[in-house]
Symmetry: C2
Subunit: 269 residues, 2 copies
């Protein structure tokens, strides 16, 4: 599988991807999922892919070689349309034969960046080649194994979050995913684009030796356990006295328990 997340903030865009690809547990390998199209002072376009690797590589190949080029598109919407067309091109070429092999045509793409003359934009492109765009109300997109790492982003990221905080949040989200799902793996690619710069100057390829990511993974796990310990345990009391108590069952919740209870046909007791 894969986990990629992209966040569009007021100050720029954060892109983070893992590099685990697998087709069964005995065919696990490392493929980088991030691509950067950059022409300084003119356009910076980042793309991350999930799903079937053969499809996403074919899409990328088509994009690099097709005549209606990413380099000529007048704005990010046109770029998203080009990527959607590339997906449809691959679907027309490979969809039918994949279906004969019971392989789903499955690809997910996060596409973000800025073309000089308009604001930054971020899109999520589906297997059908159609797409949606991020807004201030929903400023991040995820593809692949998205759920483990979603709660922390939901709680922390808003459009006015700083780029450094957002990068930290993306890394924590990734650390939680790595910890719970072996189909997502190091190394990671982290790219931070600063609005209106039209060049990428913050990029890091994160391996097991990256001390910042190691610090984040360890500290987050440890602090989570500390916070967990600090929260008061439930107290089972018949007569609740403070806000931390839970009613004990034989009293207030007896009726409620009865509603889920099946008694034996012969009443032993």
């Amino acid at each position: 599988m894969t986990y990629c997340v992209a966040m569009k903030l007021d100050d720029g865009i954060v892109f983070l991807s893992d590099s685990r690809t697998n087709a069964g547990v005995d065919a696990v390998s490392t493929f980088r999922k991030m691509t950067l199209f950059e022409r300084r002072n003119d356009r910076v376009i980042m793309m991350m892919t999930s799903g079937n690797l053969a499809i996403s590589q074919a899409v990328k190949h088509y994009l690099i070689n097709c005549k209606e080029s990413i380099w000529n598109a007048e704005n990010m919407f046109e770029v998203a349309e080009l990527v959607g067309e590339a997906v449809r091109h691959v679907y027309k070429k490979d969809g039918a034969i994949l279906e004969e092999f019971d392989i789903k045509f499955n690809v997910g793409i996060l596409l973000g960046g800025q073309v000089n003359g308009e604001p930054m934009r971020l899109f999520m492109i589906y297997s059908a080649g159609n797409f949606i765009e991020a807004t201030d109300e929903n400023c991040f997109f995820q593809i692949g194994e998205t759920k483990y790492g979603k709660p922390i982003i939901d709680r922390v990221v808003e459009p006015d979050t700083s780029l450094d905080e957002a990068a930290k949040c993306a890394l924590i989200s990734m650390a939680s995913t790595l910890n719970s799902n072996i189909s997502v793996g190091l190394p990671l690619d982290l790219l931070v684009y600063e609005v209106d710069t039209f060049k990428v100057e913050k990029f890091v390829h994160i391996t097991e030796e990256n001390q910042y990511f190691e610090m984040i993974s360890q500290t987050w796990g440890q602090r989570l356990r500390e916070v967990f310990s600090e929260i008061q345990n439930p107290i089972w009391k018949k007569h609740p006295k403070n806000i931390f108590e839970i009613n004990e069952s034989p009293d207030d919740n007896l009726e409620s328990l009865e509603s889920i209870k099946i008694n034996p046909p012969d009443t032993w007791m």
Copy 2:
């Protein structure tokens, strides 16, 4: 959807379920997913179900009414076999017609408890009626929307975790799921069985008015944000000086960035 989690600890078993059922967003309703079979001093058997509601209700109906009764089973393994047989009975009755309507035969069941004469046991039963049993290495099972709430359980719960800590962890796991997925909803049913008691005395039906759950939800979100703020942001430096720094791209990571970069065919710069 649904989210249910069951944990088998040294001291007992914790069962927690939500009650949201939906068939499309305009058919959202509340159905409780926990069932308790209790004959005091003899056996306590808890069951939680996810998946197609018509299937899980049919399974429960069959279990209550079949001759090979849960009340006669000699041990929990036999109970699990009975539940698996109930699933297969419903599959034989409804599977073919459901397929005609393109409805997947989908049901997931968590079954736990204790029959006098043997230790507590916890099983997860699949749509095919087969099942697996929890062990000390894997002491919890989840069904339904399992991923949002898995990271905190992965980090906290071990067989020697106390029942109160485990119940708190289950509630935090549920709070994270509720926060990220609208297909899971209140009220909740929380049941705690204490080993070798052969009766259930700790049960609570948690509605929006439950102050302990409200405290947990709020405190957990707030403390997560605090811990997040306390972790140092990345510092982008050309020459890393301490463990918290990330290399800035034009320096050490330049080569790495080049490997994901597509340059324009005409070299503008």
